[in-house]
């Protein structure tokens, strides 16, 4: 009985001593994966533009049609301004949730096995992949910001507002990408993943404050929306870009989104190896 206990203690001491080295490997691994994702994006500019079409349609077709609806606009004079952070987060959510397809593809070819047999830490692989989704979200956000500026949609153009909103968007996107990797590890085939992806993404989108304020939702939907990390992501972005707080606080938004990222990343790092079998 005593021998295993001694082992455990030696293990944890070892773990402490090796912590700096492990942190360095995690950093290098994340950077290596993120670097590859950035390179891939450079070879495929078109992807960013095709993926920017959908949020622009939401913003200009849906947004313009309901432009003067004050109940929907939740305190803003222009529904399009209210909608802008929502569609930005929504477009990033779509990128993130279908990121898992790439993981399944990489399993079907041999990339995943290969990666898992390198010294890369699993958490580094997951975070690096997630940063790929975040980089795509960033590129989309830049396109959207440019269009919003050109169209003269009234958001607050402060440095802290824009940068803060982008940071929140990146954290949220990375977290949803991790969620997608967890789903990919569980589902395992592309066909089934497409179904599950739709099943997850639409409720996440509609049961959040992306399109309309929580205040106008029926109570049951509001309860769900309160448990939805996307609501906090959008709420924080709206606070930063428009100054609409709707009774929430910014620190809570950042805490919830960052916490969601930590949890999904850790779970994804655990479930990821299952994907190769």
């Amino acid at each position: 009985m005593s021998a295993p206990a001694a082992d455990v203690r030696a293990g944890s001491l070892d773990g402490l001593r090796l912590l700096p080295a492990r942190a360095a490997r995690l950093r290098d691994g994340t950077v290596a994966m993120g670097w590859a994702e950035l390179r891939k994006l450079r070879h495929d500019h078109l992807d960013i533009f095709t993926r920017s079409v959908q949020p622009l349609l939401w913003l200009f077709v849906f947004g313009t049609a309901l432009r003067h609806n004050h109940a929907l606009a939740g305190g803003s004079s222009d529904y399009r301004a209210y909608l802008a952070p929502g569609v930005m987060a929504q477009a990033a959510l779509f990128v993130a949730i279908f990121f898992g397809l790439g993981v399944i593809w990489e399993r079907d070819v041999g990339q995943l096995q290969r990666l898992l047999a390198t010294p890369l830490p699993r958490l580094g692989i997951v975070l690096g992949k997630a940063s790929g989704a975040a980089i795509r979200a960033l590129a989309q956000a830049i396109v959207l910001f440019v269009v919003i500026a050109i169209a003269g949609i009234g958001i607050r153009w402060t440095v802290w507002g824009v940068v803060g909103a982008v940071v929140l968007l990146l954290l949220g996107t990375a977290a949803f990408a991790c969620l997608s990797m967890i789903l990919a590890a569980l589902v395992r085939t592309r066909e089934r993943f497409m179904g599950i992806g739709q099943l997850v993404v639409m409720p996440l989108f509609f049961a959040s404050s992306a399109l309309y304020p929580l205040a106008i939702m029926p109570a049951w939907l509001r309860t769900i929306a309160h448990a939805n990390p996307l609501s906090y992501e959008v709420h924080g972005m709206r606070d930063l870009m428009l100054g609409i707080t709707a009774g929430g606080t910014l620190w809570l938004d950042f805490t919830v989104v960052a916490g969601f990222l930590v949890v999904t990343a850790l779970v994804a790092a655990k479930t990821y190896p299952r994907a190769i079998l």
Partner: protein, 274 residues
Amino acid sequence: MTALARAEERAERLVLVDGLVVRFGEVEAVAGVSFDVGGGEVFGLLGPNGAGKTTTIRVLTTLLRPTEGSAFVAGHDVVREGLAVRQAIGYVPQAISIDGALTAYENLEFYGRATGVPRRERRGRIEEAVEAMQLESFLDRLGRTLSGGMLRRLEIATALLKQPAVLFLDEPTVGLDPTARRLVWERLEALREQAGTTILVTTHQMEEAERQCDRIAIMALGRIAAEGSPAELRARFGVPVLEDVFTEATGGRLDEGGSFRDVRASRRRSRRLA
């Protein structure tokens, strides 16, 4: 045998597998396999589909935990010292591991980073690997535009950057046309002569194994049915070609294994490589 002697043997034999068993539920994919590979040796693991070759490699590359038995690679226990093993090996799985959305050079740089080649040495190591596998002519092409033979050579190059103690190649020539196959083997031979790299390779191409491997283990139904140099095996079974040893040793069970998913994946791969 004393603990010290055992430790010495482990260091000398770059791969040491003892009584390895891998069970997936009811199925025994590897049913008690023991073998070893010495430094500088090219060791061939042969057998029909479903014989347990890939499962064995997955244990040695730390992707799978063995149910029973032990395995050491470059002196490290694959279960307890997984990281040390991963730092010491190069691995090219049967399926394509190159990222099609990156160029050949970017793939090299990525695996240089991923396998922990120090930044200062990265460029030099990439140049060496490019020369060893003769990749100069397509470094700027995207992975998805490369032919099967180019892909395999690129994959082997990415696995060489860390100067691995052992190189694991799972079916490196499957799906390649004869010219591409010859080129891959030519490069591996050169690698062996120049760098003395230890290679563990799986294949079901008998004549390739006969020409290229110092020693061979023939697997069937999760067990090693015969082991030795190609000449020894021919003599032991009293047959003129290794192909016949294979049939004798595996009892003619040539193509029983392989699930629907395996078959679908390998056909898709062949199409991709052609």
